[in-house]
Symmetry: C2
């Protein structure tokens, strides 16, 4: 099964990378951008064809490695 | 308007980061993961309320800065 895991910073956590992108866009002349926050996305292929099992594997992977749950949220989407 | 820009590596482009994650998941005992490819996601707030204008600003931002269109694809999604 194909799935996607989105990892984004929690609200209130400072995102210096996003701020740098805002600054770079302004200096490149791209106007109208109010704010940018950067996250990560993982396109994952799971060997199993069972949705419940796939979700379990992905939650384990996200908790153990993909996301730092102290400062990041994650969302799993099965495609 | 709120929007999201997804940047992923084109098919065929080697993704060493994804390979490293595959290896790390296997060594952490997370089984059943066939492949991982990592991408980026940008949560962007645009000052305009016009959909067409927002799409234009985002396409410019992605072409100029967010994605390296030689090796990466991007997809814009207005929320």
């Amino acid at each position: 099964m194909k799935a996607r895991v989105y990892v984004t910073l929690k609200t209130g956590i400072l995102d210096p990378q996003g701020k740098a992108i805002e600054g770079a866009l302004a200096s490149l002349g791209v106007e109208g951008v109010a704010s940018v926050r950067q996250g990560k996305v993982f396109d994952i292929e799971i060997a199993s064809n069972d949705t419940a099992e796939t979700e379990k594997i992905l939650a384990t992977a996200a908790d153990k490695l993909l996301a730092n749950t102290v400062i990041e949220n994650y969302r799993v989407e099965i495609i």
